[in-house]
Amino acid sequence: MRLFHLSLAATVLLLTACQTARAPQQPRPYPEPPVVTPGGGSQPAPEPGPTSVTPVLPELNPPPVEVVPPMRPIPNYPRRAEEVSSPPVSALVRQARQQRAAGKPEQAVALLERALRIESRNAFVLAALGQAYLAQKNYRQAENMAQKSNVVARGNVWVELDNWRTIAAARRGRGEYASAEVAQAQADALDLWLNPPSTPQP
């Protein structure tokens, strides 16, 4: 039995190696850990707690990733705060949107913080807070909120798209252009995947 395990593990390793060699640039949006998709076929990211073959150490700033338009089916994640939030939180998020549209980002922050006190790990609220800080040119907090939103988003690519845009803009605002490019690439890749151009990709 033990021998069988060993030989199986060896086979698996070999296959993995082949796979990597054949398709070294498998597209994968951050921050999901690299998922090996056998045979070049498409697989939705397992969730939660995806299985991966390489340990992913958490990092504050993601490493540069080469981005190629992905061609995976879009997972069925909620797109708006109202889909996952309780009525009072939805109401506050709505009011915050109005305040921000009215050019009052500080009022929006106050409303979103009220929402956050009710649902402290609501990724949409955190993402909106990041955007409101961005509007206030508080770039450090804009990025921090977006990062935290990404952590609690648990793979919701719609929220992540918003957050990477916020992070890219915040870094540009701070004059950190190189790292802004990295974030922008993440955003672009997600955008291309989630909002593909009308002509289908080959």
Partner: protein, 773 residues
């Protein structure tokens, strides 16, 4: 040379004229000086206005965990009174499953909320529905007006809440004039008639029974002069009163008087003006006072100490009824209202000095945090409105549990009464907000602030940070790494030998890392710490928010670093929020005196510790509660409440600590003695029971046991630490950073079939994916 009579006459007249002119000049100068003083005093800001400090407003919305009786209790604490009609703001009517209320208007930082009539329906343990009482429109969320919890006034200083004349109930102004100065609207500042009447009365009585001072004179006396009864003071007072009346309207003088008058004393804090008087005695705004309450305040003007309703209730009641009689006689009160008012008790809120629940320890934290942005003068003079993070429900629970536990502990340990002291803090980890703070068992006493200033060794509370440092090195450590529990002898730089021992003086054999933490074994912790280096552990502590000056020495691993309960709350809050550090704050917003937004203190977060290792540590801290030193917590908590925490005990049982958290609350409790003598209490039997009861009262939400993306769970055989499957008895599921779970199978594992096995290694999972298994 002889003077002729004519010359003499001229000389005399000249001299007289000269003396007269000098006298007139001197008198004019004197008047001008007084006039200058008056103008200066009345121009611009007349008072140093202390900052008013508010608690966080209660957010009211469907789904909020709250019962009808709890809600009614909160309304009472806010000074709302029962009234079946809920006709005026500040009233409510409570039933078993609903509460109607007339919400007060309030100018919040982000906008005004008007007064409105509401109906709140309750389920068994939460708010079911919220609707307008008049239009039956469903409402999504509303805020109650926040409680006023203190003020920041100068030392030995006056405290007041400014009111405008048009916001003062007419009964109060009319009653005040009827009692204190009936001719107020006719005299020129001084009333000869009143002086004669008073003199006659005093002569007849043989001592001073009546004052002849007008309201204007009283105001002058309070503004400029001391209370010594001397002739020159009386003269000054009379002239200044005349001058004041020349310069200012009666209404201005009356408004100034209403805000100036001294109405009571709370230690070093002098209660001035009817605005604060209403809060101080009745815990509600001035415009909500009823006739018997107004009468009490009006009666107090004559002698706030002599008629102190808290100390001399009988005397105060007589005085109040006398005032009610005058109001009735002057036809300011109808027969009915008069009779009803006489039947009312004094109605003064009880409590030390303030009556209104004031939180001096928390306000001290507010003051310190504000002093980073504001000058002392701004805080004590500008009448700022400070909106804080204090959650009155959390504060009430923390106070109650500490106050009731200390005598119990003293009794069970046969200690002298009032030997023990305690401090505690409750925070919300994700927002970094301080929700409650207790600085000692006398919770209303603004003395030594143990929560902020008592820096004590934290003992085993440091261990999670030792293990968190280890878990950030997945190549070397995971939760199931076996650690040696063996004697250690370390030669220190000073030549002495350090030989730490386990708490129970026993050796327990090799321990999995999580178990060493759960049982708080010292030796494995030191082993890990030595392997990492003290500087690495210190760095982790700093990333969690520790700001003290501890040295990177091996004794650090066992908690020989001093920290205040606030420091500990900061460090544990960072763990509780998944590695995102949010500097603990007590302030949300600051408004100007007239309600304009001034400053916000937004929530700030920064990821300083990686999420995966923090998740693993939190898992281990959960084991502390289920199979380690934290188990007694479940005497108070529900078995379904997933919480994490750590006990801390220092040498000779001098300090008893507990720090822990659920999903939405962090709480830290310290119990010990001010003279730093041993108490015989460990963290588990001193601080822990208080912590657990507070957490139960707060209905702490369970931790979210969903691992982050870079963590995977594996079944492990506890005996070997190797991978297990369903065939292994006692197998446990342990989280690992992805890719670091043990690959080798334990002897107990039996393959049941290739794809059916639980806890497949990643490559097998990959194969399953490949074949669609």
């Amino acid at each position: 040379m002889a003077w002729n009579p004519k010359k003499l006459k001229i000389a005399a007249i000249s001299a007289l004229l000269l003396v007269g002119s000098v006298a007139i000049l001197a008198f004019a100068t004197y008047l001008m000086r007084l006039d200058g003083q008056i103008r200066e005093r009345f121009a611009g800001a007349r008072w140093a206005l202390p900052a008013q400090v508010y608690a966080a407003p209660m957010e009211l919305y469907p789904g909020l965990a709250l019962t009808a009786p709890e809600f009614a209790h909160q309304l009472e604490r806010l000074g709302y009174r029962e009234d079946a009609l809920v006709a005026t703001p500040g009233t409510f009517a409570a039933g078993p499953s609903h509460v109607d209320l007339h919400l007060r208007a309030f100018q919040f930082w982000d906008g005004a909320q008007p007064a409105q009539r509401l109906s709140v329906q309750f389920n068994r343990s939460s708010v079911k529905e919220l609707q307008g009482l008049d239009d039956r429109r469903a409402l999504e969320i509303l805020r109650l007006d926040p409680a006023l919890i203190g003020s920041i006034y100068p030392k030995q200083g006056e405290d007041r809440v400014l009111v405008r004349l048009d916001a003062v109930p007419p009964l109060l102004t009319k009653g005040l004039i009827a009692i204190e100065d009936q001719a107020f609207y006719w005299h020129m500042g001084v009333s000869i008639k009143a002086i004669l009447r008073a003199s006659f009365a005093n002569l007849r009585a043989g001592h001073v029974v009546q004052g002849g001072s007008t309201i204007t004179q009283q105001l002058i006396k309070n503004f400029f002069l001391n209370s010594k009864q001397t002739w020159d003071r009386k003269l000054n007072e009379a002239f200044m009163a005349l001058l004041l009346e020349i310069h200012y309207e009666k209404q201005d003088i009356l408004e100034a008087y209403l805000n100036e008058v001294h109405l009571g004393q709370d230690g070093s804090r002098a209660v001035h003006g009817f605005g604060l008087g209403a809060q101080f005695y009745f815990n509600k705004p001035l415009d909500e006072l009823r006739p018997h309450e107004i009468a009490l305040l009006v009666g107090l003007v004559k002698g706030p100490s002599f008629y102190n309703p808290r100390r001399n209730p009988k005397r105060a009641l007589e005085r109040r009824n006398l005032v009610l009689g005058v109001l009735h006689r002057e036809e300011l009160l109808s027969d009915e209202d008069y009779a009803a008012a006489l039947d009312q008790p004094l109605g003064v809120v009880q409590g030390r000095g303030g009556g209104v629940e004031r939180y001096p320890a928390f306000v001290e934290l507010v003051r310190r945090q504000l002093s980073k942005q504001y000058q002392e003068q701004d805080l004590t003079h500008e009448g700022l409105r400070i909106f804080t993070t204090l959650d009155p429900r959390a504060q009430e629970a923390l106070e109650r549990r500490i106050i009731e536990a200390l005598p119990e502990l003293e009794k069970s340990r046969r200690m002298k009464e009032r030997t023990l002291e305690a401090a505690g803090i409750v925070t919300s980890p994700d927002g970094g907000e301080v929700l409650a703070l207790v600085a000692g068992r006398d919770v209303r006493f603004p003395g030594f602030n143990r929560a902020l200033d008592s820096r004590r060794p934290i003992g085993s509370l440091v261990k999670p940070f030792v293990y968190l440092s280890a878990l950030q090195r997945p190549a070397d450590f995971n939760l199931h790494s076996l650690l040696a529990d063996e004697p250690i002898a370390l030669k220190l730089a000073n030549g002495r030998i350090w030989q730490p021992k386990n708490y129970d003086r026993q050796l327990h054999g090799p321990q999995p890392l999580y178990m060493a933490l759960a049982q708080s074994y010292n030796l494995p912790t030191v082993q890990v710490g030595l392997a990492l280096g003290a500087d690495v552990v210190l760095q982790t502590l700093r990333e969690a928010g520790y700001q003290g000056g501890a040295q990177p020495l091996p004794s650090l691993f066992l908690g020989s670093l001093d920290a205040s309960p606030l420091d500990v709350a900061q460090m544990y809050s960072t763990i509780a929020s998944g590695g995102f550090r949010a500097p603990l704050s007590a302030i949300r917003e600051v408004q100007t005196q007239d309600g304009k937004p001034l400053t916000r203190f937004p929530i700030e977060v920064e990821q300083t510790l990686p999420e995966g290792p923090v998740y693993l540590l939190t898992w281990a801290l959960r084991q502390v509660m289920t199979l380690g030193t934290g188990r007694p917590a479940y005497a108070a908590l529900l078995p379904t409440q997933l919480v994490a925490g750590k006990t801390g005990t220092t040498d000779d049982y001098r300090d008893s600590w507990f720090a822990g958290f659920g999903a939405d609350r962090v709480a830290v409790i310290w119990v010990g003695r001010d003279d730093n003598q041993p108490t015989g209490l460990s963290g588990a039997n001193g601080a822990l029971p208080i912590w657990a009861r507070v957490m139960r009262d707060l209905r702490v939400r369970s931790l979210d046991p969903i691992p982050p993306p870079d963590v995977e769970e594996a079944m492990v055989d506890p005996a070997t630490g190797l991978r297990a499957d369903a065939a292994c008895l006692n197998a446990i599921v342990v989280p690992y950073l992805a890719g670091t779970a043990p690959a080798e199978w334990a002897p107990c594992a039996e393959a049941e079939g290739f794809f059916g096995r639980e806890g497949d290694s990643p490559p097998l999972q990959w194969l399953k994916d490949l074949f669609g298994g």
